[in-house]
């Protein structure tokens, strides 16, 4: 009952509206197509923001586009299942008509958004033409559909409508992707792909160019702009005619002139915009995106103040955390996976003796040889038994154990050691030269041993050794080591 009552008005309305389309309707449709096609030339996107009301309405575009998307996707489904249930075919005509109306609405809002906010660039253009082509295709679908319904199976017109519909769906997907790239950034889909996949999509080629260069701009300024600004001021979308994706374009500026005045942060437009109150109309990053962090602003300011150079590698007064990490030397050699030895390691953990504690849950972080349970009874012989675990041990806690100089030779085989504790042991330092075989050793604790200054000189050649603790030894007697003395050696 319900079905028939719905069926009548729907199919009736469609027939009245389309019928066998009259010449007047055809002329109207062609005129509409031409109007749509000429619109981009009449209302030129000049990259300048215009009236606020345009943006106010325009910002509904990302919301409204989902209506035609849903309707268009529905049409092929209705046509296919309509074979079995004719009522769905009738609905298809209605949905198609609705989709066209929704397309026109979205197109209007899209125009308002782009024109109002001053968006421009290749992706904006692509998205615009995609939307226009989509609307026209949907309109064409409306016109060819009646002949498809009435044509016999053998007639060539039979293929026209399905083919057009398929192209509509394809255009829709492509246009939607362009739109997504505008809102989320061009690398939104590929960002978390594996490098191999990215290569396949050829997306990382332009990213690679700035990486690896050692200048302050390349390492710090470009990444800041890249994360915060380039989605609207880049190759794909260059609002205000401004692009910030390369040094030359950054210095060139936009429609309002230069944004960086070398040596004068106070007159640099870019800095002014990012430091306005967040509620200000001209504040950047716009559209509610998070403001830049204080540190990022400070770096930009310092970089501009000191000449905004493309090649300078360091700035005075800017302490970079990263630099201190770099000066720690090359990364240590990776530790092999000890998972296969886990049964033995767990067995040790349950026993009374020395233990191997994982640094973290990641096997690549290695193991710590811990002797604090048995310190006084842990001897050279016991250490030798741990040699088979040497490739996995990154830290040996031998403080206050009974090991002697003889163990230094053994320790020379623990080539992955990064930290070595020998404090409070009987080590005198005669074998310290063996430790030269430890390329990754960064910290060596010899507090309270009998190591002399002369013996300690054998450590001088170890480039990566950052800290040697010699407190309360003949090399640095406790009496002379004033309380505020920093006994840590820094390799400069």
């Amino acid at each position: 009952m319900l079905k028939s009552s719905l069926k009548m008005p729907v199919s009736g309305a469609v027939k009245i509206w389309l019928g066998e389309s009259s010449s007047r309707q055809r002329i109207g449709a062609i005129a509409l197509c031409l109007a749509l096609l000429s619109l981009p030339f009449v209302v030129h996107l000049d990259g300048k923001p215009h009236a606020d009301w345009q943006q106010l309405l325009g910002r509904l575009h990302p919301l409204a586009v989902h209506l035609p998307i849903g309707l268009i996707v529905l049409v092929p489904l209705l046509e296919i299942y309509g074979k079995a249930r004719p009522a769905l075919r009738d609905a298809a005509a209605f949905v198609l008509a609705l989709a066209f109306a929704a397309c026109l609405g979205s197109l209007t809002l899209g125009y308002l958004l782009a024109y109002g906010s001053g968006a421009s660039g290749p992706i904006v253009t692509a998205h615009l033409w995609g939307g226009t082509a989509l609307s026209i295709s949907v309109l064409l679908c409306l016109f060819v559909r009646p002949s498809w319904l009435s044509a016999s199976a053998a007639h060539p017109a039979n293929m026209l409508y399905p083919g057009l519909l398929a192209s509509v769906v394809f255009t829709l997907a492509w246009t939607a992707h362009q739109g997504g790239s505008l809102t989320h950034g061009a690398n939104y889909l590929t960002q978390y792909m594996s490098p191999a996949m990215q290569r396949w999509f050829d997306f990382d080629s332009q990213l690679a160019s700035t990486k690896g260069s050692g200048s302050f701009y390349a390492r710090h300024i470009n990444p800041i702009l890249d994360t915060n600004c380039v989605s609207c001021h880049g190759e794909s979308k260059s609002n205000g005619g401004l692009r910030l994706d390369s040094y030359e374009l950054l210095m060139h500026g936009g429609k309002d002139g230069a944004v960086i005045v070398a040596g004068h942060p106070e007159t640099s437009l870019l800095l002014e915009r990012i430091t306005l109150p967040t509620s200000h109309k001209l504040f950047m990053p716009a559209e509610g995106r998070p403001p830049l962090q204080a540190e990022e602003i400070a770096w930009l300011k310092a970089w501009i103040a000191q000449g905004a150079s493309a090649s300078a590698t360091a700035l005075s007064g800017v302490v970079l955390h990263e630099d201190t990490l770099e000066s720690l030397g090359p990364p240590p050699q990776p530790v092999a996976d000890y998972s296969a030895l886990m049964p033995q390691i767990s067995q040790l953990a349950l026993g009374q003796g020395a233990k191997l504690l994982p640094v973290s849950s990641l096997p690549s972080d290695g193991l710590i040889l811990s002797t604090s349970n048995v310190s006084a009874t842990f001897t050279d012989a016991q250490l030798a038994q741990f040699e088979r675990f040497a490739p996995y041990i990154v830290e040996a806690e031998l403080g206050r154990t009974a090991v002697t100089d003889a163990s230094l030779a053994t320790l020379g085989k623990f080539t992955h050691l990064r930290t070595l504790h020998l404090e409070g042991t009987a080590v005198t330092g005669t074998g310290l030269a063996h430790l030269a075989a430890l390329p990754d050793l960064r910290s060596l604790n010899l507090n309270g041993t009998r190591v002399t200054a002369a013996a300690a000189t054998s450590l001088d050649a170890m480039k990566n050794l950052r800290h040697v603790y010699l407190f309360n030894t003949p090399a640095q007697p406790a009496s002379t080591a004033e309380s505020q003395q920093d006994s840590a050696r820094k390799t400069e």
Partner: protein, 524 residues
């Protein structure tokens, strides 16, 4: 105010008398056994009966054999074996710090007089604090009746220290000397305005009692580096009767819903560090061992019968106590300390129970691989007579903190030890109970207080966060308690969102249900 009795002491006494009653009989009488079963907690009963129903339903579907093997598996995993750090996959990433020492300044140190320099306040002496600054904040019952809120500038001058030129009060000259090694956090803030909720929030992430504290979470997550000492130790500083001492209770080092072996073990501030540490006359080490073996057997029987995981905790605690009989005297024996130690910590460090002594002990504890040591220093609750009490407090604390950090540094321990200095809140800029040129009082202030941290994982030589001109509101980079604790856990290799324990239907964690974040700016 009277010092709160040590929880661990009384517990020890209880367990001892229980032991005396049980050991001679060697077998639990039937009525006692019945009593035990009746005493099952409601939660345990409901939890188990729920499982039983589930298994019964499953059995009817799958047949009895499947049930039998599955029930066996569930028994061994659920009640007998507690998860180890390896099961928990902790540390989640390579930690910068392996252990931590937390210097807790109970009572709420006045940030304006110590570390949060506000030179502009001198000109505002006795002016009322503007309403716009105070807003509609609810005050404590101690000052909400005051007719005026007159600004009390700090009585002490501040000097610049170190390469960073950080301002530190003249009350803390030693802290000034090490300021380049610290990360000062001026924007710490809390939600509670009174001691008990605030100190609970700081320690357990929740204002209500019953949640595990930071040290218990670390004990649970990181496990032990030294089986002869507890993983979590608490040192209380002897009370100074001239100071306003707020009580500190064992709730602060409670393991909450975690197994009670993760509770902090307190060392006494006078006499033997642990009561009954030495065997009584007539009981030698071997007899003690035999007795403990017998008790352990009984406990295993109880465990098999009731399946209460707390029985496991009790077995572990007896064993720990036995090992502590030798490890603690060695720990507390300071005779081997070189003269340089006493030069550094000062003569006060020779007297057990002083803050300096506790700092020295904390260094020795850290050397021995204890995961977490917390030192409580009470008396910072300066509601009145700030100029009389504060210099005293600072003398007790300043040099000892400096000595601890310096000692850890020269011994190479600061590389992988996190040191934290914090109270439960700050104090008001306005004076409580009248204002004179030479004296004033300060009330509780939760909106901002200054803390510091240093050591493994901490970015030192920085000041993080800013307060307004009145040291009243945070104006930049606020660090709420949950973020503070998340950052501490991060330094120790723990993702605060991943170290959880299912209790009362919630994946409980130290940082609570409000989303917390690690303060990246504080990390090295």
């Amino acid at each position: 105010m009277k010092q709160h009795p040590f929880c661990t002491d009384t517990e020890h006494e209880d367990s001892r008398s229980a032991l005396d009653a049980v050991v001679p009989q060697m077998q639990i009488p039937a009525e006692a056994r019945q009593k035990w079963i009746e005493l099952q907690t409601r939660r345990q009963f409901l939890g188990r009966s729920g499982k039983v129903l589930g298994w019964a339903a499953l059995a009817s579907l799958l047949g009895e054999n499947v049930l039998r093997s599955a029930a066996h598996a569930s028994d061994t995993t659920d009640s007998q074996q507690l998860p180890t750090p390896a099961d928990l996959k902790v540390p989640h990433f390579a930690p910068k710090a392996k252990r931590a020492i937390y210097l807790f300044m109970s009572g709420g140190p006045p940030q304006i007089d110590l570390l949060d320099y506000k030179p502009n306040l001198a000109a505002l002496y006795d002016k009322d604090i503007p309403d716009s600054v105070r807003g509609n904040q609810q005050l404590t019952g101690m000052t909400n009746g005051q007719a005026r809120f007159p600004i009390a500038p700090s009585h002490w001058a501040f000097q610049r220290y170190g390469k960073t030129g950080t301002f530190v009060s003249d009350l803390l000259p030693y802290t000034g000397r090490m300021v380049d090694d610290l990360a000062l956090i001026k924007s710490t803030n809390t939600d509670a305005i009174n001691h008990e909720p605030a100190i609970m929030l700081m320690n357990t992430g929740n204002m209500n009692a019953g949640k595990p504290c930071l040290g218990s979470w670390l004990s649970y997550g990181l496990g032990s580096m030294n089986d002869n000492l507890p993983r979590f130790m608490v040192l209380q500083t002897k009370m100074n009767a001239k100071e306003n001492n707020q009580p500190v209770s064992s709730r602060l080092w409670s393991s909450g819903f975690l197994s009670s072996e993760h509770s902090g073990v307190g060392l006494r501030s006078s006499g033997d560090p642990v009561l009954y540490l030495t065997d009584p006359s007539g009981v030698d080490r071997e007899v003690r061992r035999k007795m403990l073996d017998a008790v352990e057997q009984i406990n295993h029987q109880t465990l098999a019968e009731l399946g209460d995981p707390e029985t496991n905790a009790r077995i572990a605690q007896y064993e720990m106590a036995y090992r502590m009989q030798t490890s603690v005297p060695e720990l507390a024996d300071l005779r081997s300390e070189p003269q340089s130690t006493w030069d550094l910590y000062g003569p006060e460090a020779r007297e057990p129970g002083t803050f300096a002594y506790n700092c020295l002990l904390a260094r020795r504890i850290a050397e021995r691989g204890v995961r977490f040591t917390q030192i409580y220093k009470r008396g910072w609750d300066v509601h009145d007579n700030v100029t009389g009490v504060l210099p005293m407090l600072c003398r007790e604390v300043d040099r000892a903190c400096y000595a601890l950090v310096t000692d850890l540094k020269r011994r190479g321990l600061l590389e992988d030890t996190l040191v934290v200095w914090a109270g439960e809140f700050g104090r008001t800029v306005y004076s409580q109970g009248g204002l004179r040129k030479d004296n004033y009082g300060r009330d509780h202030h939760p909106r901002c207080f200054t803390t510091w941290m240093t050591g493994g994982g901490v970015r030192t030589g920085i000041t993080y966060g800013e307060t307004d001109d009145y040291s009243y509101n945070v104006v930049k980079d606020p660090v709420p308690v949950r973020d503070f604790n998340a950052t501490l856990l991060h330094c120790l290799g723990i993702d605060h969102n991943k170290l959880t324990y299912r209790f009362q239907g919630l994946e409980q964690k130290l940082t609570g249900t409000t989303p917390a974040s690690v303060v990246k700016g504080l990390l090295a």
